[in-house]
């Protein structure tokens, strides 16, 4: 068999694995690979402006298409710059393969130029990682890396390839991956457990489905099955931040998001339920609030592909290790086969109606200033009216929570946000990645004035590849969530949370060849949003909103679901040290 260089083996493997897009940045230790990519007929390379941007683009691409995101960066600073995005992908279970260049094998450990211990640095922020010391191993490692990144609980995998391994030659053959010695994720639930789950759901008087990003990861089929199961059982559905879109916001069974900034009805229903069915969520601290007061009256079923998620934080009565789609398929089939009818949940729904009547997402309108919630609600209406397939990404902070609360998601893979790690700087590159994977969709990054600046350099990337992404900045001249916590916890001592010296976002956009729009008052809001949507190329909108608005409802950290703050007048005094110690 003819031999080829390690770099060619890599690129050939990527082609064989169906990779169409690579987000990357060249450098000394990956030059042989970049030479293979030169004028490549099928693999499109997107040149980013910073390696962190590449990782978030890959995440956005992966989350919106269901395919793994691929990143290519050089050794040393290339790899270290990628680490935030790799960690983000681990926390949010995003399938991603990151290829890093490394100094030649004989230089490893000598503090060579642009050397970093990439496998050491990424050991705990990857699902798995490799240092490939021979071109003979390369094909196997690359194929295996994609298998590991995309199967089981998805996550990032790093492949560190020394430069001499890229140059040295070996034969290439598609490896057989059918029998891994130790990695065999459990996908299918045990039959008895499914039957038990169905019996528990049928017997419950106050059931609720608590769903998460695992449903999105399990593919569109899982979302369709969730809708079917909800319809069969008649139970209400709430979701984590990561799971939004799996269940349609338009459904009468939809409760809104739960947790720290979730709706009153979702959190109260979790607290009063007699059965919680967790599918693909992980009882994150943003969701549970104070643990000893979390859902005290309920039995809990937890379906998760990762056994370590079960009983990690909340003890469950029935833990099922399975892929969400597979488990939902089995639950629906078992429900039908056992001839179950939906239980009479009229009393439960009556109580829910009472909680809904509190209208926890309402906010005071202002005649003179744009309320940020209004901006999101208007954006939602305008994108719906446009009839376009719309993908929303966010940065991290108040705007992210307002987007989660006031934008109505109806389909999976249309909502891309950094949930677990909470990475400011995620949303804009994620939008670029999503646009690469969905060229005909309307991709909008909802941002804050502070977080947009964390990866603002990617304006050039969107320009270069003519990607018509829209950036909608809710500009309140603050790191709003930090300011809000300082107001609530530290008597409004706004330590370093004011966004001083903001750029003129309109001029900045124009400097990169974008269209810039400024929206200064409520009367300009609708027209400004319409102009943004109708403008064909990339657009940055500087939407000036009320500066000191807080995001409510809110469960203060360390508080129970029932101790929700619905409006600012409920706040008094300062928090105890126990609460201050929590994030």
């Amino acid at each position: 068999m003819a031999e080829m260089s390690g770099a060619r083996i890599l690129v050939r493997s990527l082609v064989d694995l169906g990779v169409e897009v690579v987000f990357g940045y060249p450098g000394g230790a990956v030059l042989p690979i970049y030479d293979e990519l030169y004028n490549h007929p099928t693999i499109k390379h997107v040149l980013v402006r910073h390696e962190q941007g590449a990782t978030h683009m890959a995440e956005g691409y992966a989350r919106s298409t269901g395919k793994p995101g691929v990143v290519l960066v050089t050794s040393g600073p290339g790899a270290t710059n990628a680490i935030t995005g790799i960690t983000d992908a681990l926390m949010d279970s995003i399938p991603m393969v990151v290829i890093t260049g490394q100094v030649a094998t004989h230089l490893i450990g000598s503090d060579a130029f642009q050397e970093a211990d990439t496998v050491g640095l990424t050991r705990h922020c990857t699902k798995h990682n490799y240092l490939v010391k021979s071109p003979d191993r390369l094909a196997h490692v690359i194929h295996e890396a994609f298998h590991i990144a995309t199967s089981g609980r998805p996550g990032p995998v790093v492949i560190d390839i020394p430069k001499n391994v890229q140059v040295a030659t070996a034969p290439y053959e598609r490896p057989d991956l059918s029998n891994h010695v130790s990695y065999r994720p459990q996908v299918k639930a045990e039959k008895a457990q499914i039957a038990q789950a169905v019996a528990m759901i049928a017997a419950a008087e106050r059931p609720i489905f608590y769903t998460g990003g695992g449903i999105i990861n399990a593919g569109p089929e899982a979302s369709a099955l969730l809708r079917e199961l909800a319809e069969l059982t008649g139970a209400p559905v709430t979701s984590t931040l990561m799971g939004l879109g799996a269940f349609p916001a338009a459904s009468p069974q939809w409760m809104g998001m739960l947790g720290m900034h979730g709706t009153y009805e979702a959190n109260m229903a979790m607290n009063k339920a007699d059965l919680i069915v967790n599918i693909g969520a992980r009882f994150d601290d943003r969701v549970t609030g104070r643990l000893d007061a979390f859902a005290p009256h309920s039995k809990k079923i937890h379906i998760d592909i990762d056994r370590s998620s079960i009983n990690k934080i909340v003890m469950t009565d029935l833990g099922i290790v399975a892929d969400a789609a597979s488990a939902l398929r089995d639950l629906v089939a078992e429900w039908k086969a056992s001839g179950r009818k939906a239980a009479d949940l009229e009393e439960w729904w009556a109580r829910i109606a009472g909680w809904r009547a509190r209208k926890s997402l309402s906010y005071p309108e202002s005649g003179t200033e744009i309320m940020p919630q209004r901006a999101i609600a208007d954006l939602y209406q305008a994108t719906r009216r446009s009839g376009k397939d719309c993908i929303i990404t966010t940065e991290v902070g108040q705007h992210q929570m307002w987007a989660a609360q006031h934008y109505g998601f109806d389909a999976p893979n249309k909502w891309l946000t950094s949930g677990g790690l909470g990475t400011m700087g995620y949303g804009f590159p994620a939008a670029i990645g999503a646009q690469m994977g969905n060229p005909d969709s309307l991709v909008i990054c909802i941002a804050g004035d502070a977080s947009i600046q964390m990866n603002i350099q990617e304006l050039g990337t969107a320009t270069q590849y003519r990607l018509p992404v829209k950036v909608f900045i809710l500009n309140n001249e603050y790191m709003g969530m930090v300011r809000q916590w300082q107001e609530l916890t530290y008597e409004s001592r706004y330590s370093e949370s004011y966004s001083d010296s903001l750029p003129d976002f309109v001029k900045l956009a124009e400097a990169y060849g974008w269209i810039g729009i400024r929206i200064e008052g409520p009367q300009e809001l609708e027209a400004g949003i319409r102009q943004m949507i109708e403008t064909p190329g990339p657009v940055m909108v500087d939407c000036r909103v009320a500066k000191l608005t807080n995001c409510f409802p809110m469960i203060p950290s360390g508080a129970a679901h029932t101790d929700m703050i619905l409006d600012p007048s409920q706040i008094e005094g300062t928090l105890a040290d126990e609460a201050k110690a929590l994030v």
């Binding site: 050991r123 056994r307 370590s308």
Partner: protein
Amino acid sequence: MHITEETSERHVLSITVTNEAGILAKIAGLFTARGYNIESLTVADISDDHQVSRITIVTNGPPRVIDQIIAQLDRLVPVHKVADLTENGPFVERELALVKVAGTGEARIEALRIADIFRAKVVDTTTESFIFELTGPTDKINTFVSLMRELGLVEVGRTGIVGMVRGKD
């Protein structure tokens, strides 16, 4: 504000892993990253083709944490199997210690007498010192070392635990 801690149990975990570069760092790092304890850790290649190693870890924590440790270890790609020997019923655990004791006269004779009771072997001797080799469960070695402390203990080296479930399986 004060930070409280839960009560702990001691567990011996036996982990078989693919013998690849960085596996020990991966496992030890998992313990530090998630705040678990390691009392002792041993590792050695156990297969003819050098593909598989066995790692024995003695850890402690509340039952809920022990369960998490096992689940977290189990999801690492190179981990084949995690067995909780403490949970899986009666098991044998052994470690080996080298104990150097220096002294003359009555203390020296007493050290030798106690070593005999503990079935420790003398593996090195001078007119003023012994090195004893001792195998056994952890508490036996602890007892021996504490007795030697009064009789001129110089230094101790211990391997940490290896363990195995009793019976034919």
